[in-house]
């Protein structure tokens, strides 16, 4: 059965919502999803395995006052859904009861990222072939490449969301991802390089972007580091290449602007709306509507349409990000940021595509004007403590800047800083905006796809966690 066109399924929903409201709750919601995906793994020169999977089920959320009850089930028959609804309703029991009839009004379908070629319509052989090309390209990037692993994955999710406010939303999401990791071996030991390509797009992605290019980028990162010297230790100016440092904003302030953390006083940005929290150069946006980007969504996982939300404008904090629960408490509109990993999870406030808008400078001038520092060309993951603002992120491709020029490559290390401080310390902003690699943002045990981006920029002072004096 296909959730998207099954009318019998849609007719069950009001009855399930009514059942969920019988214990006196003021809100009930069904999030049903059917995910199908394919994954191919290549390692050690071989296609190791092709795997296909399907996860289908529904999560039922019942809110009564300050309490949320939630239950999920893989059984999406009426009986299965009613059983889950009763469990969720019991969990949020408020004593009262009664019968409420729910009438659903289906919202028009909305397409943010049009799909040209559904990956499930493509033969498995074509997906395998992509990885063979990746392996060839990475290995031919240099004789020092001794190992390559690569993964292809696609997934299509059909989603139905219905709630007791009468909302009914149906959506289809397609994402396609390629990951390449290479090992180079030299006199100094082994080094690794990684690159990835992921979009809210179908298989046409590979008509638009060369997989060989992704493979060569990963290989070159590994090869370059064979000649790298240990990263420096201490605080210094850091120039971050366009499209490689969005994670800095994701960690340094994005999480701190999530209304659930703000509400609990677990954010350094609590009570700062209207205040200057960053360099006036910085305008930060969270944008779920950014077509084809990894964090793009037509609707969030509570059925609210995705939006373009300005969080910081010319350095001034303008707004936080909101989900249903937090917006309801504050009596304000949602912002399209209620997301969840799957039907098994409760939604919470999450980012989508978070990025800094262009500045005015030529990136070359920013480097030229930096006497000594570090140029970061690629970042790995990061994390933040939102209550203190302290964050770290790993640099996976970086170089020294000496007398205004990019010179020696550096080995890996973490950068560490404090979010509010770093935002104020951004003193140069380029005009070469680019989005970065696809990311998975983790919060409270749930991972969701996110994007980030920024132009080339300079932070006056960041602490580089290397070993060289």
């Amino acid at each position: 059965m296909d959730l998207l066109d099954d009318e019998a399924f849609a007719q069950v929903l009001p009855r399930v919502l009514s059942a969920a409201l019988t214990t006196g709750a003021d809100f009930a919601e069904i999030f049903a999803s059917d995910w199908r995906g394919t994954g191919v793994g290549l390692d050690d020169g071989k296609i190791e395995q092709l795997s296909t999977g399907r996860n289908r089920g529904a999560g039922i959320r019942v809110i009564a006052g300050e309490t949320t009850g939630f239950a999920h089930t893989a059984d999406i028959s009426e009986a299965g859904l009613l059983a889950a609804a009763r469990v969720a309703a019991e969990a949020a029991r408020q004593g009262g009861g009664g019968t409420r009839v729910v009438a659903l009004d289906e919202r028009p379908r909305r397409v943010v990222s049009p799909i040209e070629i559904d990956p499930s319509s493509i033969g498995k052989a074509a997906k395998v072939e992509l990885l063979r090309r990746v392996d060839d390209a990475a290995r031919s990037a240099g004789g020092v490449i001794t190992q390559v692993s690569a993964g292809y994955s696609d997934g299509c999710t059909h989603i139905v969301i219905a709630n007791s406010d009468g909302l009914l939303v149906r959506d289809e999401r397609v994402r396609t991802l390629l990951r390449v990791s290479a090992v180079a071996n030299g006199d100094t030991g082994m080094q690794t390089g990684f690159d990835s390509l992921g979009h809210t797009m179908g298989f046409e992605l590979f008509d638009k972007v060369s997989v060989e290019e992704v493979a060569r980028t990963a290989a070159h990162r590994a090869i370059t580091k064979l000649k790298a010297r240990p990263a420096p230790s201490g605080s210094m100016p850091v120039v971050i290449k366009a499209g490689s440092g969005g994670v800095l904003f994701h960690e340094a302030c994005g999480h701190g602007l999530e209304a659930d953390l703000v509400a609990k006083g677990a954010s350094v940005y609590k009570g700062k709306v209207g205040e200057l929290v960053a360099s006036p150069l910085v305008t930060l946006v969270d944008d779920g509507t950014m077509t084809h980007e990894w964090g793009a969504i037509a609707f969030d996982d509570e059925g609210h349409p995705s939006q373009y939300n300005v969080l910081i404008e010319n350095g001034v904090l303008t707004d936080y990000m909101w989900d249903y629960l937090r917006a309801r408490k504050e009596g304000r509109p949602q912002s399209g940021n209620g997301r969840r990993q799957s039907y098994k999870d409760l939604p919470m406030v999450r980012m989508t595509n978070t990025y800094v808008l262009n500045g005015e400078e030529e990136p070359a001038d920013i480097i030229k004007d930096t006497k000594s520092g570090v140029y970061v060309a690629h970042l790995g993951g990061g994390s933040v403590n939102t209550a203190t603002g302290d964050f770290v992120f790993g640099m996976t491709e970086a170089y020294l800047i000496e007398n205004g020029e990019i010179t020696e490559p550096l080995r890996e290390g973490n950068l560490i800083g404090n979010g509010p401080q770093v935002l104020r310390d951004i003193d140069r902003l380029g005009n070469d905006f680019a989005m970065g690699n696809p990311g998975t943002c983790g919060k409270d045990g749930q991972g969701v796809p996110v994007g980030d981006g920024q132009p080339t920029l300079r932070v006056k002072s960041l602490t580089i966690g290397g070993t060289a004096a």
């Binding site: 190791e48 990263a231 230790s233 605080s235 677990a266 973490n414």
Partner: protein, 452 residues
């Protein structure tokens, strides 16, 4: 009240799949089912109550060295048939690997573990909620500067079974409960965070006082912390940090990484790779270990393996695949991440051989050092292939034998290879943590601190 072990039903499902194998095929079916509860309390009220039920099956088919897999999140018989057909179809796209194959029973006796406690099942919902509320109260009353971010009770009941055409037939079940609390401590404009946790097979085993105390202590001890000056320094890793460090070391001692050319320690068997003070075993048969288990992810007996003995590299952990490829016996270290994944080699329950002295005795002998109480960004700053190690950290300065001012927003860096050799002392303060490794205070010389 005692509930019957129903994992046999899962084994029957797995056996039915395996019985459908065609000549020349190896087939493995892994079937699991679980039930869990999560209660979160905030300011004395239930913030959410989650009741979760999940099930799924993963099927692996191998023929002529080619592997195909498929899975789905239901045990509906019609869908299981589809999963088997898919796995068969998928294998035609895999490339032949002469070492591909399922585990075969190897005669190693299973060390029985007691992983199930009936009394957890009869715990009332009210009691679960009360535990989370009590933990919040205890943490809040521990210090006037402390607020509670969230206080949680969770429990999980899981059953799983594996059957293969090669003769594996195992089924088992496991349950446990968990309390955790996140805290915030405020002093003027400054806020610091902490956490505490407790685990048990039943709710009577949960040390709620310790969870609250740890959460209060962790949040308050960093108030007023400053950024230390950059230098090379001796570090003392707190047991909780050491356990995370051991997890990274364990990841490098892996037969699959060796055969695929990604291990720092390939070609080093029998050589000294660490200080003679350092002995590391992987022992899931020890019932004290949080991740104790009787069988590995491939259905073989879990066993005790000495990885590093007095600094000398003795063994890599092996799955049946990596063992076959290296021409050695499996060490019973197949690790499986649920029904959607295939098993691969990994450590199950790392334990470091403890030394003699307690942490304060160790610190008394250190003139200039730093006690690392928390690390941040191990996933982004450590490269287990090159060995580069860099992590954000926070803790207390050690000066002339005693701990002093709190410090934060700095990194410590070295390489994994050097850190193992630079281990100067292993503490006697062994802690069994709810992780894949035990903790103990660990002293490492000559680490680079990057700060101001």
């Amino acid at each position: 009240m005692s509930s019957p072990d129903r994992s046999g039903e899962l084994l029957s499902i797995a056996e039915r799949v395996v019985a459908m194998a065609k000549p020349g095929e190896q087939v493995e079916a892994y079937v699991s089912r679980g039930l869990s509860t999560d209660v979160r309390v905030y300011e004395g009220e239930v913030e959410h109550f989650v009741s979760a039920q999940s099930e799924g099956i993963g099927i692996r088919v191998i023929r002529d060295g080619r592997t195909g897999t498929s899975y789905c999140g239901t045990l509906d018989p019609a869908q299981i048939a589809e999963v088997l057909a898919e796995a068969r179809d998928n294998l035609s796209y895999g490339e032949p690997d002469e070492w591909a194959g399922l585990a075969t029973p190897d005669g190693v006796a299973v060390t029985p573990q007691n992983l199930w406690d009936d009394s957890l099942e009869s715990t009332s919902t009210a009691r679960k909620i009360e535990l989370a509320k009590e933990l919040e109260r205890l943490a809040r009353s521990g210090d006037s500067r402390v607020r509670v971010d969230d206080s949680n009770y969770s429990d999980a009941f899981g059953e799983a079974a594996v059957a293969t055409t090669t003769g594996i037939r195992v089924a088992g079940r496991e349950n446990g409960c968990y309390l955790s609390v996140g805290t915030l401590a405020d002093d003027g404009d400054e806020t610091q965070t902490g956490f505490g946790f407790a685990v048990g097979r039943n709710t009577d085993e949960l040390d709620i006082d310790k969870a609250a105390r740890d959460a209060v202590d962790r949040a308050t001890r960093l108030l007023g912390a400053t950024k230390p000056a950059s230098r090379r320094i001796t570090v003392v890793l707190d047991p909780y940090v050491t356990a995370q460090f051991l997890g990274i070391i364990g990841g490098t001692l892996n037969g699959e990484s060796v055969v695929k050319g990604r291990s720092l320690f390939a070609q080093r068997l029998g050589e000294t790779v660490a200080s003679p003070l350092f002995t590391l075993v992987d022992d899931p048969t020890n019932p004290m270990a949080y991740t104790a288990t009787d069988i590995d992810g491939e259905g073989l007996a879990a066993r005790r393996n000495t990885l590093i003995d007095d600094g000398v590299l003795k063994t890599f952990v092996q799955s049946s695949y990596s063992a076959r490829r290296m021409g050695v016996s499996t060490t019973g270290n197949g690790v499986r991440g649920g029904y959607a994944g295939s098993p691969s080699a990994g450590c199950l329950a790392l334990q470091i051989a403890p030394g003699q002295r307690k942490q304060d005795e160790i610190i008394a002998g250190i003139d200039d050092g730093i006690l690392i109480q928390q690390v941040q960004g191990l996933h982004s700053g450590v490269n287990p292939v090159s060995g580069d190690f860099s992590t954000g950290a926070a803790g207390l300065m050690i000066s002339k034998g005693s701990v002093g001012a709190p410090v934060r927003e700095f990194t410590i860096a070295s390489t994994l290879q050097r850190m193992l050799l630079d281990i100067a002392e292993v503490g006697g303060d062994l802690e069994w943590l709810p992780m894949r490794a035990t903790g103990v205070s660990l002293v490492i010389h000559d680490v680079t601190l990057s700060g101001s």
